[in-house]
C-alpha cells in the first residue's frame, strides 16, 4: 500500500496540485509513514519527473511553477514533522540569490529560486537592485555555498562582475561558488568575469547548482587538512 501512496505523492507534484500534495503529506504523517520516506520516495521523485519532462519539452514553465508550489505545500507539512523527530531533510546547499544593482527584473530569478527550493536547496532571495557588498554580506552571514546573480539588461549585466569583485574583497571567493544568468548573459561572459558557472534557464540552474556543490565537496575532500 505505501507504494501506491508514494506514487500518488509523486503524481501530485507532477500534476502541480498543492492541495492534493498537502493532503497526502498529512495522510502519510497520520498513517505512520516516516516523513523522510514520504519526501524521498514520493514527492522528490515527482520533482525529478518534472525536471525530465521539462527537459523533453513536455512540460512548460507555468506547469513547473505549479509543481514547485505543490512541493512547497508538501514540505510545509513534512518539515515540522522532521524537526519533531530531531532531524531535517538533507539540504542540497545554501544559495543566496539576487538581481544586480540597477536592475529591477526578477522573473528569472524567482523561477530559479523556486526550483532550487523544490530541489532541496535553502534559498535566500535578496530581491532586486542589489549591490555586490550586499551579496557578500549575506553570503558571509549564512555561510552560503553558492551566490546566484541575475541581470536582464545589457547595461546592468556588467554589475555581475562587481558582485564577484565584492566577494573577492570580502575574502569569500574560495569557498563560495558564483553562478550567473539572465537574458543577455552568455557562457563567454561568465568566463570573462570569472564566474563559476552560467545557466541558460531555471532548470539548468538547478543542474548547475548541483554540479557546483559536487565540485565544492570534492575540493573539500581533496584539500589537505
Amino acid at each position: 500500500m505505501p507504494d501506491e501512496k508514494f506514487s500518488a505523492m509523486r503524481q501530485s507534484i507532477v500534476d502541480g496540485a498543492p492541495d492534493t500534495a498537502s493532503g497526502l503529506a498529512q495522510q502519510a504523517v497520520s498513517s505512520g509513514i516516516a516523513p523522510i520516506d514520504a519526501i524521498n520516495e514520493g514527492f522528490v521523485l515527482g520533482m525529478h519527473d518534472v525536471g525530465e519532462q521539462f527537459a523533453r519539452g513536455q512540460m512548460y514553465l507555468p506547469d513547473m511553477m505549479a509543481s514547485a508550489e505543490a512541493m512547497r505545500a508538501a514540505m510545509a507539512v513534512l518539515d515540522p514533522e522532521l524537526k519533531k523527530l530531531g532531524t531535517e531533510r538533507p539540504m542540497a546547499g545554501i544559495v543566496v540569490l539576487g538581481t544586480t544593482k540597477g536592475d529591477i527584473h526578477e522573473i528569472g530569478k524567482i523561477l530559479v529560486g523556486t526550483l532550487l527550493t523544490a530541489h532541496g536547496f535553502r534559498v535566500h532571495d535578496l530581491g532586486v537592485d542589489v549591490a555586490g557588498e550586499k551579496f557578500a554580506a549575506k553570503a558571509k552571514e549564512l555561510n552560503a555555498d553558492i551566490v546566484g546573480v541575475s541581470a536582464l539588461l545589457t547595461t546592468t549585466m556588467r554589475n555581475q562582475k562587481s558582485v564577484i569583485e565584492a566577494m573577492e574583497l570580502a575574502g569569500l571567493r574560495p569557498q563560495v561558488k558564483i553562478m550567473v544568468g539572465g537574458a543577455p548573459v552568455t557562457r563567454r561572459w561568465a568566463d570573462e568575469i570569472g564566474a563559476d558557472g552560467y545557466a541558460k534557464d531555471a532548470m539548468s540552474a538547478v543542474d548547475l547548482a548541483r554540479q557546483l556543490m559536487a565540485q565544492k565537496t570534492n575540493a573539500t575532500v581533496a584539500e589537505p587538512v
Binding site: G57, Y60, L61, P62, I104, H105, I107, G108, L111, T154, T155, M157, R158, A183, P184, T186, D201, A202
Partner: protein, 493 residues
C-alpha cells in the same frame, strides 16, 4: 488614385475596452512611481501613497489631449527627416546591443566602437533607414560614459536623426549637452530636435527613479521622449495578448501623465517593445508572431488616441543569419509597415536582441524596402486601368514595347539591391549565397560612404567636450575619432 493597404488587428469596441481597463488600472491598483515625481503628481491632485500614484481617468484624458499629434526629427542639414504622427512609417536599426556578429567569423563577440561606426556608416547610406540608433554598447569605452559616447560616434558619422537613450538619470544631461553643441545650443535643439530618447517603464506599472527623472527632464528640455513599454505576456504582464495590450496602455498613459505635467505640450511617443514569454525556455522571442501582434495592437491603441507611435520589430531570434531569422524579421517588417507605425526599431538584431549584425541590417533593409513598396499600395489611374493599353497592344500582347510600360515600370516595381537574387548573373558566373551578397553590399556601401563634417567650430567644441568628459572616466583618447597619441592635441582633427 492610390489605395494604401492597412492592417487592423483590433476593432473600435475592443480598443475602447482596452482603454477603459487601462484607465481603471492607473487608478487602482495605480502605478508605482519614484520620489522624484511625488510632488509633481500631488500638485496635480493625484494621490500618491506608499510610492503608488492613483491617477484619475479624467485628469489622464486631459493630459493626453495636450500631447502633440505630430512632430519632426531633423537631419543635421536642418530639414525634417522623420515625421512622427499619422500613418507615416520609418525604420531605424535596433539599439543598445552588447554583442555583434563578427563580420568575418559570424560568431557573436562584444561590440567595439569600430563596429558601431561601421554599422552607422552603412545605415547612413541606406535610404530605408530614416534615422540612426545608438545601436551598440561599445566595450572598449568605460561603462560610465558608454551612453553618450555611442551618441558622439553616431553624430560624428551621420547626419540622420538619432533614436537614443540614457543609461542613468544624470548622464541624460551629458547626452543633451552633446546634442546642444551639435545643434548650436539648447534652444536650437528644442526647435529642431536631432534625437529622440527611449524611456522604459518597468513592467508591471512601475516608473523607476531613473525613468521618471528622464521623462521629466526630457519634457522640460523640449527634446522628444519615446516610451518603450515592455510587457512580457505571461511573466511580467497578463498572458493574454489583450491583457498585455491593456498593461502597455496603462504604462504609456501614466508615463504621459508624468511627462505632460512636467511640461505640457512637450513631444512624446506611444511606443514599446512588448513580447510574449516563451513558456518552454523563459525567453522573449522578438520574432514570434504573437510579439508582432502585440506590437501592432499596442500601436493601434496609441493611434486610436491620435498619438505618434513606435514599436520594436524587424528582429529575429536565431543566433546566426539564417532562414528563421530572416523569415521572422520579414514578417514583422511587413506587419509594422501595414500598421502605419511611425518608428519601427530593431533592424539588424537577432538572438532575442542580444546580438547585432551589419550583414543582417543590409538584408533587413531589403525587407524594409519591400514593405515600403507595399504600403505605397496600388495606383489606379483615373483614365483607364488596362483597356487603353490593350487598345495599343491588342491580343498580341506586346506590352514591353508600350511607352506606358517604359514610363511607369519604375513607379510600379521596386528594384532590390544585389542582395536579392532575381536571377541576375554575376560577372564570373558564380552564385554567392545570401551572406556573401550581404558582405558585398556592405563593401559597396562603405566604399561610397563619405563623412560630412560638422562646421569646424562645432566639431572642435564637441571634441573638447568629449575629451573633458572622457578624461574624467580615465579614457585616454576618443576611440574611432581620435587616436590616443593625438588625443591631447585638438588641432589635429
Amino acid at each position: 488614385m492610390r489605395i494604401r493597404p492597412k492592417f487592423q488587428l483590433l476593432d473600435k469596441p475592443l480598443l475602447e475596452r482596452i482603454l477603459d481597463e487601462a484607465f481603471q488600472l492607473i487608478e487602482d491598483p495605480g502605478v508605482r512611481v519614484a520620489p522624484y515625481v511625488f510632488e509633481l503628481l500631488r500638485g496635480a491632485g493625484i494621490t500618491v501613497k506608499d510610492g503608488v500614484a492613483h491617477i484619475p481617468e479624467a485628469l489622464a484624458r486631459r493630459l493626453l489631449d495636450l500631447v502633440p499629434r505630430g512632430f519632426c526629427l531633423y537631419g543635421r542639414h536642418g530639414r525634417p527627416a522623420v515625421r512622427y504622427g499619422g500613418d507615416d512609417v520609418h525604420f531605424d536599426p535596433g539599439s543598445s546591443c552588447l554583442n555583434i556578429l563578427d563580420p568575418e567569423t559570424q560568431q557573436p563577440r562584444p561590440a567595439q566602437s569600430a563596429d558601431l561606426v561601421r554599422l552607422v556608416q552603412v545605415a547612413d547610406m541606406l535610404p530605408q533607414f530614416a534615422a540612426q540608433s545608438t545601436a551598440m554598447v561599445c566595450n572598449d569605452v568605460p561603462q560610465e560614459i558608454g551612453d553618450w559616447y555611442r551618441l558622439l560616434l553616431v553624430l560624428w558619422y551621420s547626419e540622420k536623426p538619432v533614436v537614443t537613450g540614457a543609461f542613468s538619470a544624470s548622464s541624460l544631461h551629458t547626452l543633451l549637452d552633446l546634442l546642444a553643441i551639435e545643434s548650436g545650443g539648447r534652444e536650437a535643439l528644442r526647435q529642431h530636435p536631432r534625437a529622440i530618447f527611449d524611456v522604459c517603464p518597468s513592467p508591471p506599472l512601475n516608473w523607476s527613479e531613473f525613468a521618471s527623472q528622464n521623462l521629466v527632464d526630457l519634457a522640460r528640455a523640449g527634446v522628444p521622449a519615446e516610451i518603450v513599454s515592455m510587457p512580457l505576456a505571461g511573466a511580467t504582464a497578463p498572458v493574454t495578448l489583450a491583457g498585455s495590450i491593456v498593461q502597455h496602455a496603462a504604462e504609456c498613459i501614466s508615463g504621459i501623465v508624468i511627462h505632460q505635467l512636467a511640461q505640457p505640450g512637450s513631444p512624446i511617443v506611444w511606443g514599446g517593445a512588448p513580447a510574449i514569454f516563451d513558456m518552454r525556455t523563459g525567453k522573449t522571442p522578438m520574432g514570434a508572431i504573437e510579439t508582432a501582434m502585440l506590437d501592432v495592437g499596442c500601436a493601434e491603441v496609441g493611434k486610436f488616441l491620435g498619438l505618434p507611435t513606435h514599436a520594436y520589430m524587424v528582429a529575429g531570434d536565431g543566433r546566426v543569419i539564417d532562414a528563421q531569422v530572416e523569415m521572422e524579421s520579414g514578417m514583422s517588417t511587413v506587419l509594422g509597415a501595414l500598421a502605419g507605425i511611425n518608428m519601427i526599431s530593431g533592424a539588424g538584431m537577432l538572438d532575442f536582441l542580444a546580438c547585432h549584425s551589419t550583414e543582417k541590417l543590409v538584408i533587413d533593409a531589403e525587407a524594409i524596402a519591400s514593405a515600403q513598396r507595399l504600403v505605397e499600395g496600388v495606383e489606379a489611374s483615373a483614365d483607364s486601368l488596362a483597356v487603353a493599353m490593350f487598345a495599343q497592344a491588342g491580343l498580341q500582347g506586346d506590352f514591353l514595347k508600350l511607352k506606358e510600360t517604359r514610363a511607369l515600370f519604375r513607379k510600379e516595381q521596386h528594384f532590390p539591391s544585389s542582395i536579392i537574387d532575381r536571377g541576375f548573373s554575376s560577372m564570373d558566373g558564380s552564385s554567392p549565397d545570401i551572406l556573401q551578397r550581404a558582405r558585398q553590399r556592405i563593401e559597396e556601401l562603405l566604399s561610397a560612404y563619405e563623412r560630412h563634417p560638422l562646421p569646424p567650430e562645432r566639431e572642435r567644441e564637441m571634441i573638447a567636450f568629449a575629451q573633458r568628459e572622457a578624461k574624467e572616466s580615465g579614457l585616454d583618447g576618443l576611440p574611432e575619432i581620435l587616436r590616443p597619441e593625438y588625443a591631447h592635441e585638438p588641432g589635429l582633427l
